[in-house]
């Protein structure tokens, strides 16, 4: 396991180039280029704000900020998995003809999405600052929570990418699954809006825990408790090592089935 991680580290230059390839090739030829990846979260934020604040009239102060706090990390999670799942299968000729650590492909997908995510954060920052001011001590905890979410996401990404090789239904299962998880996670609504029964069971979902932590940080300037951080750390590391272990076990015949 750690041997594998060290190998990937030795190939980090390739991983970074794959990230660059992903970012460059995705928007080559389009006029707006990388602006498209900013458009997507902002349009979504506008649509949800319209539906939940103005139509349903949900009782959450400064709804836009609340929404962005959870929506951007969610989009990072969902789009990373969407792209990582097919990353190996889409690189069929490469996987068949060139020997390199295959996990570089899903890991690069996640990192490329992280770049989009970071750009979206920059755009969201003035909006958040307009409500709450630019500097709040709570923001200092954001990088730590994000790092844990990146580990959490990467674990799923590598496991799903190898699953897609052997079981082509994986990406369709994922699409449906992400829809369910999106609405089962407090992103467009807050945990306080949810019925009592759901409030207790929702914490079984690690993503809900991540979202609530982000929302507390951004809207209430409330630092996560130590026990909350350790649970998130356990989720992040657990997902990462489990996913990586699964990948390692299943990768032997990837080139034959891809």
């Amino acid at each position: 396991m750690f041997h594998r991680l060290r190998t990937l580290w030795e190939w980090r230059s390739l991983v970074m180039t794959l990230v660059g390839r992903d970012l460059l090739a995705r928007y080559k030829g389009s006029t707006l280029g990388v602006l498209w990846s900013l458009m997507h979260p902002l349009v979504l934020a506008a649509v949800y704000t319209f539906a939940f604040k103005f139509v349903i009239q949900i009782q959450i102060p400064n709804y836009v900020v609340f929404l962005l706090a959870g929506l951007l990390p969610w989009l990072f999670f969902a789009s990373s998995l969407g792209i990582a799942t097919t990353s190996i299968v889409d690189s069929g000729p490469l996987v068949k003809k060139v020997a390199f650590p295959r996990e570089a492909l899903p890991v690069a997908s996640v990192l490329a999405q992280l770049v989009h995510f970071a750009l979206a954060y920059f755009v969201a920052l003035p909006i958040v600052a307009g409500y709450y001011g630019l500097l709040r001590p709570g923001y200092l905890a954001l990088p730590l929570i994000m790092a844990l979410q990146i580990l959490f996401t990467t674990g799923f990404a590598v496991a799903l990418s190898v699953s897609q090789v052997y079981l082509r239904d994986t990406r369709h299962l994922l699409e449906v699954g992400l829809q369910v998880v999106f609405w089962a996670t407090p992103i467009v609504y807050s945990l306080q809006n949810a019925p009592e029964a759901m409030r207790r069971t929702v914490l079984v979902n690690p993503l809900a825990l991540f979202m609530v932590t982000y929302q507390d940080l951004v809207t209430a300037n409330q630092l996560p408790t130590l026990s909350r951080v350790s649970i998130l750390a356990a989720c992040g590391l657990g997902s990462f090592f489990l996913g990586y272990g699964l990948f390692h076990r299943a990768e032997r015949r990837i080139a034959e089935y891809v």
């Binding site: 390839r21 080559k28 003809k97 299962l173």
Partner: protein, 302 residues
């Protein structure tokens, strides 16, 4: 022209006694599906109905192959389509893991198994050199240092900043060959890469291969161009139905293969039974119901 001035840094050249590539009793099994591999629906049905749903045959694409290639030696591999040549190189390259046996490679391995396997058509030639070199295991700085040499060799200076999709297949092939052969290979695997390219460039490629051999690298070379094989290789191995039936002097092996091909294509005349039998590997008789083998078994899996 080919730059002679470039230093050939070789870390601790292997003594000629220890082979650079050792393949010991390697076998590789593929599952050849009559349809695509079972999806979720089929698997669920299989559980419910309790019956076998994956209709596949086992195909031993490589059977018990053992060979060694020394440093500075060039080994050619010949044989008909589907004889396991490409699969064998893919195993040596570490892409497939053998089901039996073991492979040991000493030194930096560079494999050119398919033209531009790592190329991205949307990116420029320059970006692709970087991407391809890194797929072969190189750091950015190492590739940048050799960048001009690679581009000079491929003769595409004018087009280097254009997207690769605007290149002709000959240009792509020249670039792919230039990358793989200018990154100090110690073990070089070449699968049918001289098929594209005009006369001038083919000669240039051969010259480059000679240079690499002179530098002490081991080369494994697959080609259907028997003249080139005979000229280029120190030894030649003949593969039939996954088994290495003979290894030896290029002229002998090529001659034997040509005789075999001639015997096959002479429809009326019955081939001498003794010769025919001797070419059938022993293992093959164990699985008599051999399906017609596609040149690249795994491609059927799509």
């Amino acid at each position: 022209m080919v730059p002679q001035a470039r230093p050939q840094p070789r870390t601790s050249p292997a003594p000629s006694t220890t082979p650079a590539v050792v393949v010991r009793d390697v076998s590789k099994r593929f599952r050849v599906y009559h349809r695509r591999p079972a999806g979720l629906k089929e698997r669920l049905l299989a559980v419910v109905l309790r019956r076998q749903v994956e209709f596949y045959e086992e195909l031993w694409a490589v059977r018990g192959v053992s060979l060694e290639v020394g440093a500075g030696e060039t080994l050619g591999l010949i044989g008909p389509n589907g004889s396991g040549k490409s699969t064998l190189l893919q195993i040596i390259a570490g892409i497939y893991s053998p089901d039996r046996g073991a492979v040991r490679v000493r030194g930096r391995l560079r494999a050119l198994l398919e033209l531009g396997a790592g190329f991205n058509p949307e990116l420029s030639g320059r970006e692709n050199v970087l991407l391809n070199g890194q797929l072969l295991g190189f750091r950015k700085q190492e590739i940048k240092r050799r960048f001009n040499t690679i581009v000079d060799f491929a003769e595409i200076e004018r087009f280097i900043d254009m997207p690769l999709k605007t290149y002709s297949s000959g240009m792509q092939m020249r670039l792919a060959f230039a990358i793989a052969t200018h990154l100090d290979p110690e073990v070089l695997l070449l699968d049918e890469i001289l098929a594209v390219g005009d006369d001038h460039f083919q000669r240039k490629c051969l010259k480059r291969i000679y240079e690499i051999r002179e530098s002490g690298a081991a080369i494994l070379f697959i080609s259907h161009d028997l003249n080139t094989v005979e000229r280029l290789c120190d030894r030649v191995g003949l593969l039939m139905k996954g088994s290495l039936v003979d290894v030896g002097e290029p002229a002998d092996i090529v001659g034997r293969y040509q005789a075999l091909l001639a015997a096959e294509h002479r429809p009326a005349a019955p081939a001498p039974p003794s010769q025919q039998a001797s070419l059938e590997p022993d293992v093959a008789t164990a699985t008599p119901a051999e399906p017609p083998v596609p040149p690249q078994p795994p491609e059927r899996f799509r």
